[in-house]
Symmetry: C2
């Protein structure tokens, strides 16, 4: 008797904190520290780790050491290393590395795409085609940002997302990320979109990229699993945000999601204790307290000494 | 196509922040301020408001003004006002007021009951019978605390909860609260217990009392709704905690839960904007920032001005 029946295959988590989190951390993390954290993450069971972004170092100085990070990390054979590529210049930089995959973003919202990438969606889509054609050894994942809502225009129509997915499928992509960039999705809405995508493209590798902005991160993940999705971006500690949506907290927290899944009968190959340690190590480096909750409370089996306390 | 089908009847929220939240707020809130906040809450659509506790003023000085609060609030005709009653002395105090309902707690875990109430469960259950017999005009709700886990002993067996619910049913109760006191429940676990309770006692008024300690508050509420539960305790701002579980954050946040339900097609008679204002008013009184998220981000339809920002 289950709310969401665990599927026969494992739920795969993809760690995006070192890119989506650190680009909005407010302070530069030294390359050595980034490398140390990524090396720890490599042994914790993530299917992919998004390690950096080949964005302009002037625009996002916090990730200006992309090449150095990639040159220095120890690569684990069972992890795919990913970087975000916003344009042709980013592709050229990525091609000079031994990345496994690049992640190319376009927003379903025209306003957000213009603000974020300084291009129309049409231009982004054409650029995507040219990047795919020249990607060489790199696998290409397409991310559709603002797939549930845009900070400028409000709600995103399901039909619009479906239409863009179809265009990317026609262009030959084999993996797509559907991103709730500003954390507006609700569980029934997630279920509907994911079920329709699953029906549209049963063989497509679909990742759901959720934010916990309104407290719905885990509920949305369960809804997506019920709809046949089993791959999620998440960030250690729940770091991250959206520069256009003030007050928006971060990505769904890797250890909170893993904790829920592991304790609820799902197969999910994450070393939870190791992940909590890594999150705390990054908190110490940044001198910040991240929003994740399990690192504070401990997993559910945590017990406490029976102390004398006032009755209530 | 829904993840959790909205039921034909509304989801009822019961505000417990003024008791469960304020007893662990770390500072006394003046009676006038308590009355002002409760009066605001009375107009926001809650089915019940737990306004205080008739616990010993020495044990919990933060709620020592129970009688004064009850004497001064303006009662709304469509709200039931509730107070926690830990023992016979509390009942005597409650009987001198015009409360609608008293809430009598017992922990399913013997260790937690001993620590929290200084009684065995057997003693608590016998006391419950005597309180029910002498409750006069007061309705009596039984809360089963630590129904999913105990901070000292770990997991609680479903069978043990079911057995205690059966004993309370045999004693004639018509409403029971199942409390995840320390926030250890996971969605599949919630679904199983709620579905079994619903099957055991179709006419019983069942409230689920959730904590968001491990980020699962809303996911657990959706699981419970799927199992036929439509009544939830929640606290404004997500305040609250458990004195025996360090690091445990508070109750499921009223406005975060209401936001999810309202935006996801459920009927839930909560004035969301009014509730966010009230939460912010209590934050200002306490000079604290509560853990709730929607008060920070705004509801999902919130948009932001299209400002010039660096591309990422």
């Amino acid at each position: 008797m289950s709310f969401v029946q665990p599927p026969p295959h494992p739920i795969q988590l993809q760690e995006v904190g070192m890119r989506d989190g650190l680009q909005s951390a407010g302070q530069f993390v030294n390359t050595d520290d980034k490398v140390r954290i990524i090396n720890q993450l490599s042994g914790l069971g993530f299917a992919k780790i998004e390690v950096t972004s080949f964005v302009s170092p002037t625009a996002v100085p916090l990730l200006a050491d992309a090449e150095a990070v990639l040159a220095q990390i120890d690569r684990a054979h069972n992890v795919d290393y990913v970087a975000l590529v916003p344009n042709r210049r980013g592709l050229e930089r990525a091609l000079a590395t031994d990345l496994d995959e690049i992640n190319v973003v376009m927003s379903v919202s025209e306003a957000h795409n213009l603000a974020n990438l300084r291009m129309t969606r049409k231009q982004s889509f054409e650029q995507f085609g040219s990047i795919m054609a020249d990607a060489g050894h790199l696998r290409v994942n397409a991310t559709l940002a603002t797939a549930f809502g845009c900070p400028f225009n409000g709600a995103t129509e399901v039909k619009e997302v479906m239409d863009w997915v179809q265009r990317y499928l026609d262009r030959g992509v084999s993996s797509i990320t559907i991103a709730d960039t500003i954390g507006v999705a609700t569980p029934n809405q997630v279920y509907e979109l994911c079920a329709r995508l699953r029906a549209l493209a049963p063989a497509l590798e679909i990742t759901l990229h959720l934010h916990n902005t309104r407290g719905l991160g885990v509920a949305n993940a369960y809804a997506a699993i019920a709809a046949g999705i089993h791959r999620f971006d998440a960030s250690l500690g729940g770091i991250g945000g959206c520069p256009y949506a003030p007050g928006a907290t971060g990505n769904i927290c890797s250890e909170d999601l893993a904790h829920a899944l592991l304790r609820d009968g799902f197969s999910c190959p994450i070393d939870l204790a190791g992940l909590i340690n890594t999150t705390k190590a990054l908190e110490a480096i940044l001198g910040q307290r991240f929003p994740g909750l399990v690192k504070e409370s401990g997993p559910r089996e945590t017990t406490h000494p029976l102390a004398d306390a006032p009755n209530q």
